[in-house]
C-alpha cells in the first residue's frame, strides 16, 4: 500500500502541478537575472562580480531549506509512520543535493576568474559543502536499504541527526574563523543592504523557494507514480 488512495492519474497530476510550478520559477529566475543586472546598483567594492550574490545566497538558502524539511519530515515520520512523509523527505533530499551540487560547482567556476582562487572556506560555502555530504549520505543509505519501511525508518534517523548537526557545523566554522581570520572574499548579507539590493535578494529568494517547491512536488509525484505502477505490476 502506498499509504494513500491516489491513482496513477492522480500521481501524474501532482507531477504536472510540480512541473508547472517549476516552470513559473525558472521564468522568474530569468526575471531575477534581468533585475540583478539592470535594475540593481553595482556594489562599490566588489563591482559587477558581487552580483552572483543574488543567486548564490538564495541557492544556499534553498539547500538549507531542503535539508531542514528533510529533518522535520523525518521527525514527523517517526511519530506518525506515514509513508507520504518519507516520500516527501526523499524528494526534498534529491532536490537539495541538486541545488547544493550546482552551487558548489558554479561557485568555484565563477570565483576563479574573479578572485583568483577556486575555493574559500567561507561560512556559506562550507555549510553548503556539508549539506551536500549529508544529502549524499542520506541518499546513499536509501539506495542501500531495500525494504521500504526499514529504509524510511533509517532515513528518518539520519535526517534528524543531520538536521541537528547543522548548527554544530555552523558553530565550529564560526569559532574557527574568529580565531583564524581569513580574507573575507564574499561579503555576507549584512543588515545594512541598500533597499534595492535587499529587494532583489528577497525576490530572488522567493523565486528559488518557488523552484524548490516545484521540483519537490514533481519529484514526489514521480516517486508516487513509480510506486503505484510497481504495485500494479506485482498485483497483476
Amino acid at each position: 500500500m502506498t499509504g494513500s488512495s491516489v491513482s496513477l492519474e492522480g500521481a501524474r497530476r501532482i507531477v504536472r502541478r510540480g512541473l508547472g510550478l517549476s516552470a513559473v520559477g525558472v521564468a522568474g529566475l530569468a526575471g531575477v537575472y534581468l533585475l540583478a543586472l539592470n535594475f540593481t546598483p553595482v556594489e562599490a567594492r566588489q563591482g559587477l562580480a558581487q552580483k552572483i550574490f543574488y543567486v548564490h545566497v538564495p541557492a544556499a538558502w534553498s539547500a538549507l531549506l531542503a535539508f531542514s524539511l528533510v529533518g522535520i519530515a523525518s521527525m514527523l515520520y517517526l511519530w506518525l509512520q506515514d509513508p507520504r512523509l518519507d516520500r516527501f523527505a526523499a524528494a526534498s533530499a534529491e532536490v537539495g543535493v541538486a541545488f547544493s551540487g550546482v552551487m558548489l560547482t558554479t561557485g568555484p567556476i565563477w570565483a576563479r576568474p574573479i578572485w583568483g582562487t577556486w575555493w574559500t572556506w567561507d561560512a556559506r560555502l562550507t555549510l553548503t559543502l556539508f549539506l551536500f555530504f549529508l544529502f549524499v549520505g542520506y541518499l546513499a543509505l536509501r539506495a542501500a536499504v531495500h525494504d521500504p519501511v526499514e529504509r524510511a525508518r533509517f532515513s528518518a534517523v539520519v535526517g534528524i541527526l543531520g538536521m541537528l548537526l547543522v548548527p554544530f557545523i555552523h558553530l565550529s566554522v564560526y569559532l574557527f574563523r574568529t580565531l583564524h581570520p581569513q580574507p573575507i572574499v564574499l561579503k555576507p548579507s549584512a543588515p545594512s543592504l541598500p533597499p534595492e539590493m535587499l529587494r532583489t535578494l528577497l525576490i530572488s529568494t522567493a523565486v528559488f523557494t518557488l523552484i524548490y517547491l516545484g521540483f519537490v512536488t514533481a519529484r514526489y509525484g514521480l516517486a508516487l507514480a513509480e510506486e503505484i505502477r510497481e504495485e500494479g505490476r506485482d498485483a497483476g
Binding site: L78, A144, R153, L171, L175
Partner: protein
C-alpha cells in the same frame, strides 16, 4: 531505570568479554593505528614541517580512522546466529541496549587511543607527558561524541551490503565538529596556551556529546525494532 543501567552494563560486559577472548578485532585496530602513524611519518617532509605543527592533526586523523574501523564490530557480532534477536526478544529497553553498545565501543576505541598515544610520542618525538591529563580529557570528550553517532550508524550500516563504505559516508560529516574541537584543544595544549583559550572548544565538545548521546539513545529503538 536502575535495572536498565544494569542491563546496559551487562551488555557492555558481554561485548568486552567476547572481545578479550578473541582479541582479533582489537589487535587489528591497534596495528592499523600504528601503521597510520608510520604512513604519516613518511608522508611529510621533516625539514619543512615540524612534528609539533602536525601533531594534533596526525593524532586525531589516526583516532578517527581507527574508530571507523572498530565501530562496525559491535553489530557485526550480533548478526552471527541472529544474536541480535536474542537481545530484542528479552525485556531489554532499547535505550539500555544502545548504552551498552556505546560503552563497549568506547572501551574498544579508548583502548586503541590509549595505546596510540605513547606510540605517537615515540614516532614523532612530541612529548605528551606534561599535558597528559588535558590530552586524556579532550580525547574522552571528543571520542564520546563521535562514537555515539558511530554506534547508531553502524547498527544501520551492517544491514546494508557495503557496511565498511556506508559507515564512513554517513559518519564523517558528524566527526567534523568533534575533530575540529579536539585538534584545536590539543594544539593549544601542546603549545602551553592557557585554559581560557580552549574553553570555547571544550564547551562545544561537551554540548555535542550531550546532544548526540541523548538523541542517539532515543532514536535507537527506531533503528533496531522492525
Amino acid at each position: 531505570m536502575l535495572s536498565a543501567l544494569r542491563l546496559a552494563l551487562a551488555i557492555a560486559a558481554k561485548d568486552i568479554r567476547a572481545e578479550l577472548r578473541s582479541k582479533t578485532a582489537l589487535l587489528s585496530a591497534l596495528v592499523f593505528a600504528a601503521l597510520v602513524l608510520v604512513v604519516f611519518n613518511f608522508a611529510r617532509d621533516p625539514t619543512i614541517l615540524s612534528p609539533a605543527d602536525l601533531a594534533p592533526s596526525v593524532l586525531w586523523v589516526t583516532f578517527a580512522l581507527a574508530a571507523m574501523l572498530a565501530l562496525n564490530r559491535a553489530f557485526t557480532i550480533e548478526r552471527e546466529n541472529a544474536a541480535l534477536d536474542g537481545l530484542l526478544l528479552a525485556p531489554v529497553p532499547r535505550e539500555a541496549l544502545f548504552l551498552g553498545k556505546l560503552v563497549a565501543n568506547l572501551a574498544f576505541v579508548g583502548t586503541v587511543e590509549l595505546v596510540t598515544l605513547p606510540l605517537f610520542t615515540l614516532f614523532f618525538g612530541v612529548s605528551l607527558w606534561e599535558v597528559l591529563p588535558g590530552i586524556i580529557a579532550v580525547t574522552a570528550l571528543a571520542t564520546i561524541g563521535f562514537v555515539a553517532v558511530g554506534t547508531i550508524f553502524s547498527a544501520m550500516a551492517v544491514r546494508t551490503r557495503f557496511a565498511e563504505l556506508m559507515l564512513p559516508v554517513l559518519l564523517l560529516p558528524f566527526m567534523v565538529p568533534p575533530l575540529i574541537g579536539a585538534v584545536q584543544v590539543t594544539s593549544r595544549l601542546l603549545a602551553g596556551r592557557p585554559l581560557s583559550e580552549m574553553l570555547g572548544w571544550l564547551r562545544l565538545l561537551a554540548l555535542y556529546d550531550i546532544v548526540f548521546v541523548t538523541l542517539c539513545t532515543l532514536a535507537f529503538a527506531a533503528v533496531v525494532d522492525e
